[in-house]
């Protein structure tokens, strides 16, 4: 066995949650060694990839100050193969061992890829990593791809459509469920989204899936759907979901379910080992159930909490809130929290619908627990704030979703508190 290296803090995977953890660590501990090891050769913003693919960005792939102001020493192209939680060491793919004081598991998610006959041999992609994007862009160029199939109407599938629309491709979006964004959208919202997609030339096929891909002289040429329909396309993107990247944690001593189980301090079942971001299974602040909420803002918040606690501070995570945004053509869509409540009498919905605008709030007792905004999203952040801070809305309930709803609709104390920050008074 080769020599064992040592670090005070080890970050496994180096992306958004690790970076926020590193910054939080450095704020609390000015001298401890912070080492990040990551499988990839660079750091980048995953949500930015679809915009880069669609030429809708300035080409940059990283986020914020992650390159210029990084408190961690990073070992690139350096996968961790094994973790011994109680023993506090990891083994890297090249055989080296690193012992740590505290560690953060931040290995994100991996795309779900079901076995579909014909998928092997090129032309079928998943889209979660920067090299997926680069290979896809190259394939489109080399094969003069015009027709593309996107399998999966979740956020990643829609973001992929958004990018491909910008590249003027003919796109068919196939989704097994009866609506798009199955967990984050309702039937009505989905219809708006389908209309917007159609307007951009995307054909949406619901309640169907790909049974097999077909090849001509080994090149991908079409697919046959479960319904029997055949669709010609030179490229396919499989975007049916991501799941926490935990397979490498077998034998680590960490408790895992769908993701790595953590408490409100982002600490795993193994003291001194933390987890954050898409790999972690946290408490959903709406349902109170454990769930994996794989979105950027939660990766940020969890990374910060993990970093502080790793440095010995006591910081609590408020629970995760699923939320996302997408824009197709001119139609912007956001959703957050619980948007399809069970029909058991506990939930009330408030709806505003006019022309291109559809807004829905889901309330439980006197709190908002979910929202869908289509078309007019400007004030969505106010409602998200009410959800996150569990603000009782009874005293201004009749103003919710009114066009002139605003900070002025909120109780005086709360309103002052909100606009006061940094020495500002109302």
């Amino acid at each position: 066995m080769s020599e064992t290296l040592r670090t005070d803090y080890l970050l496994i995977g180096f992306s958004v949650s690790s970076w926020f953890a590193a910054c939080a660590l450095r704020e609390e501990d000015s001298s401890g060694r912070i080492l990040a090891v990551t499988e990839e050769d660079r750091v980048y913003s995953r949500p930015l990839l679809s915009y880069v693919l669609g030429n809708r960005s300035n080409g940059m792939t990283y986020f914020g100050d992650v390159v210029s102001e990084n408190p961690a020493e990073v070992w690139w192209n350096c996968a961790v193969e094994k973790l011994d939680g109680p023993g506090k060491w990891v083994e890297l793919a090249d055989g080296r061992r690193v012992a740590f004081g505290k560690a953060l598991v931040a290995t994100g998610g991996v795309p779900v890829f079901p076995p579909i006959p014909g998928a092997e041999g090129g032309g079928v992609f998943t889209f979660t990593r920067v090299d997926d994007m680069e290979r896809m862009a190259a394939y489109i160029d080399q094969h003069d791809v015009e027709d593309i199939l996107v399998l999966g109407g979740g956020f990643i599938g829609l973001k992929t459509c958004e990018a491909l629309i910008a590249l003027n491709k003919r796109i068919t979006l196939v989704e097994l469920a009866p609506r798009l964004l199955i967990n984050m959208m309702d039937q009505t919202g989905s219809r708006y989204l389908e209309k917007a997609l159609l307007k951009e030339g995307v054909e949406v096929v619901l309640e169907d899936t790909v049974e097999r891909f077909e090849r001509k002289e080994n090149e991908l040429c079409s697919s046959v759907l479960k319904s029997g329909r055949s669709l010609p396309h030179r490229l396919a993107v499989v975007a049916i979901g991501v799941r926490p990247n935990i397979s490498w944690l077998a034998g680590s001593g960490l408790q895992v379910n769908r993701g790595v189980l953590v408490n409100a301090h982002q600490e795993t079942s193994c003291p001194g080992v933390f987890a954050a971001g898409d790999v972690a299974e946290t408490m959903n602040m709406i349902t109170g159930e454990r769930s994996v909420v794989a979105v950027w803002p939660e990766a940020v918040a969890q990374g910060k909490v993990a970093g502080k606690n790793m440095a010995g501070k006591h910081k609590t995570y408020q629970g995760s809130l699923p939320l996302n945004a997408v824009e197709v053509g001119e139609t912007a869509i956001v959703s957050a929290g619980l948007v399809n409540p069970p029909d058991n009498g506990t939930y009330v919905t408030i709806i505003r619908e006019e022309r291109d605008v559809y807004q829905k709030l889901v309330l439980k007792e006197d709190r908002i627990v979910g929202l869908i905004f289509v078309g007019d999203i400007e004030k969505a952040g106010i409602y998200v704030h009410l959800i996150r801070h569990r603000i009782p809305v009874d005293s201004f309930r009749e103003k919710l979703l009114q066009p002139d709803f605003g900070i002025i609709s909120l109780p005086l104390n709360f309103r002052k508190h909100m606009v006061e920050g940094a020495g500002i008074e109302v």
């Binding site: 913003s45 930015l48 300035n58 950027w296 400007e378 106010i382 002025i408 500002i424 008074e425």
Partner: protein
């Protein structure tokens, strides 16, 4: 670091702040042209909220721990280290609307330029007196 203070007891709801902010962010910077000729018309980065005889004008609070900055997945939205202003770098912004979802005041708008970007109060680009403050007839907005 100066801030725009909002004094709701003095606001008369005249919307001169909105009008002048719009003009300031128009192509021509001229009031008649901005309203009658420019298309698409510029829009104000400030919003007058009204309820009965209560009103106030609200723009970005340039928050200290700004959630819009934290949740921006490009780094376009950032806090200027020198003057503590929260600004959106149009070059980097891709219009993903994570900031809109994160702003508790709802003061970020979608704007369509050569591509979509997030648009909000820029404190008039760092002038001595922002135009909304300068044009308020009743000192309902002050810069101090």
């Amino acid at each position: 670091m100066k801030h725009i203070k909002i004094h709701e007891e003095y606001c008369i709801g005249c919307r001169l702040c909105e009008i002048n902010c719009l003009v300031k962010h128009s192509h021509t910077g001229k009031i008649i042209k901005a309203f009658k000729e420019e298309s698409p018309r510029a829009f104000p980065r400030i919003r007058v909220e009204e309820e009965g005889c209560l009103s106030f004008a609200l723009q970005c609070r340039h928050c200290e721990d700004a959630p819009c900055v934290e949740n921006c997945m490009t780094g376009a939205m950032r806090r200027d280290k020198e003057n503590a202003t929260v600004l959106c770098d149009e070059e980097k912004c891709v219009g993903c609307w994570m900031c809109i979802m994160s702003c508790p005041c709802g003061v970020i708008k979608r704007e369509k330029k050569t591509r979509r970007i997030a648009s909000k109060c820029d404190l008039c680009g760092g002038v001595d007196e922002p135009v909304c403050v300068a044009h308020c007839p009743n000192e309902a907005l002050t810069y101090e």
